[in-house]
């Protein structure tokens, strides 16, 4: 096989890890709270700004800056739920979309107002690894590894703890869980905090690879939605695998043509599949 193609495939898989993390967060929130956070990628943007200021401006150690960014994003998730989602929980889905869509414009404009439209880089230069004449960015490798650890941590939380089991139960029958002593509103807050924390973790990993600017969310926000719908909205495992399918299409498409065209391939694949499997690739 062509060594450059192999390199593209490896980079595609590595990119898929971070996308999978974000798809998990979005699917978790949708599956439990039943609201799609249109502005999810902009929580990531806030987290990236957090890391930039804490690490590059205030010179905190990087791990500490990341930890604060993750906790801050979790708090932001709770705030978003309390201020924006919770008042429209019983509204028609369109109103919920408009509310979270409005938050997207609010966050982007607010970031522009505060920080301007400059591209800012946290200035961490990680080496590029070379083996067998292939080049793999160390930042991507770390991002992939940490994203997988995050995904497995979430899996064990959902599988092994009472709260995690309750979260899965709510996603299957939200009306009945009160009978088992589960307070829905509390679980919604927990889920929003976890969703925010996952966005914060993704922010840490993306800050190593990308410059932060107010519209960074737009570059991967639509891709995450596509992944979630492709995997079946609310289907966490489906979203996880769909992340790798999409990132591979983008990477391999980019190898054969250009990066811009590779997104055209990915979205075309998505549109065609929506005709064949409108409920998602992994929905039986």
């Amino acid at each position: 096989m062509d060594i450059y193609l192999l390199e593209a495939i490896i980079n595609g898989i590595l990119l898929g890890g971070v996308l999978a993390l974000l798809a998990l967060g979005l699917n978790l929130i949708f599956g439990v709270v039943d609201v799609v956070w249109i502005s999810y990628a902009d929580i990531v943007m806030c987290g990236m700004y957090g890391i930039y200021f804490l690490y590059a401006q205030y010179n905190l150690p990087l791990p500490l800056a990341c930890l604060i960014a993750i906790l801050g994003s979790a708090c932001l998730g709770v705030l978003v739920h309390k201020l924006i989602i919770s008042p429209v929980l019983d509204s028609p889905p369109l109103n919920q979309l408009l509310a979270t869509g409005g938050l997207l414009f609010f966050l982007q404009s607010f970031a522009t107002l505060l920080f301007g439209t400059d591209f800012r880089n946290i200035g961490v230069r990680l080496p590029v690894l070379e083996f067998a004449t292939m080049y793999v960015s160390f930042a991507r490798l770390i991002a992939f590894g940490v994203a997988l650890v995050g995904a497995f941590a979430l899996y064990f939380f959902l599988k092994k703890t009472y709260t995690g089991t309750a979260i899965r139960a709510i996603a299957q029958d939200r009306e009945i869980v009160g009978l088992m002593g589960i307070d829905q509103r509390r679980v919604y807050l927990v889920v929003s905090a976890i969703g925010g924390a996952l966005a914060g973790l993704a922010a840490c990993l993306l800050a190593l690879q990308y410059d932060v600017h107010p519209f960074i969310g737009n570059t991967f926000g639509p891709v995450i939605f596509m992944i979630c719908v492709l995997g079946g909205l609310g289907n966490m495992l489906g979203g996880f695998f769909a992340s790798f399918i999409i990132s591979l299409i983008i990477a391999i498409g980019g190898y054969y043509s250009s990066t811009e065209l590779s997104y055209v391939f990915a979205f075309s694949f998505f549109i065609v599949l929506m005709f064949i499997r409108p409920r998602g690739l992994f929905t039986p």
Binding site: R168, Q172, I176, G178, L179, M180
Partner: protein, 234 residues
């Protein structure tokens, strides 16, 4: 043990219960019978806090519980096996039981309760790793009852446990009621299957159009000419 006094409730402008009063003593099994749409399920939903009541009062062991949300009612010792079982279909049997033990007091003795439920329903132990939605109706009913028992309730509410089950399985489900009573639990059971439920309860109430029309011991109701004509077809 459980006592309702002139409870009224409904959905929006539709009133489903009109001043229902009812008492269940400790260790007793009490039935609520009546036709479709009489308000039996509504009554269950009001007791377990799924539906707020509009008027009246409700107490357990003398403590007022009217107006509490469902997740607080269960902490007072009332567990509800809902109509149509309502298991979490993609969770395993054991995960369903774990959700049943969500409240703090139940978590603390999860292992002990699990052993107890498995000893009551050995079939559930065989199926513990299976997705609950893939089991037969009778097994699902066992799992639904087991899930409610995991919280170690004082009172067990059962809403139409025989609904949608084959006749042979219906008999098994009513046998379960006997088993549960033998464990010292208080049971309030709603049923359309009048003949069979009167075999397992001590007393029963007849609910018609949201109000209690008749009450008496199971033996009295079996001999009542109105019940015999309208519900037993004799």
């Amino acid at each position: 043990m459980l006592s309702l006094a002139s409870v009224s409730a409904g959905y929006g402008s539709f009133q489903a219960l009109f001043g229902v009063s009812l008492d269940v003593a400790r260790g007793e099994a009490v039935g609520v019978i009546g036709p479709n749409g009489a308000g039996k399920t509504t009554l269950m939903r009001v007791i377990s806090g799924m539906l707020p009541m509009n008027e009246g009062s409700m107490t357990i062991e003398g403590q007022a519980i009217g107006g509490l949300p469902a997740h607080h009612i269960i902490e007072r010792g009332i567990a509800h096996v809902p109509e149509n079982r309502r298991l979490f279909p993609r969770l395993t049997v054991e995960e369903n039981l774990r959700v049943g033990a969500y409240i703090p007091t139940a978590r603390a003795r999860f292992a002990e309760q699990l052993d107890w439920v498995y000893s009551l329903f050995p079939r559930l132990k065989d199926r513990r790793a299976q997705a609950a939605g893939t089991m037969s109706g009778g097994e699902q009913q066992m799992c639904a009852i087991g899930r409610a028992l995991m919280s170690k309730p004082k009172v067990l509410l059962m809403d139409e446990p025989s609904a949608g089950l084959a006749p042979l399985v219906v008999q098994q489900v009513f046998d379960l009621v006997g088993k549960i009573r033998a464990e010292g639990l208080t049971v309030l059971i709603v049923e359309q299957n009048v003949q069979q439920v009167l075999e397992v309860v001590d007393r029963a109430y007849l609910l018609e159009v949201g109000a209690i029309k008749l009450t008496g011991t199971a033996a009295e109701l079996k001999d009542n000419s109105f019940i015999r004509e309208s519900y037993l077809g004799l």
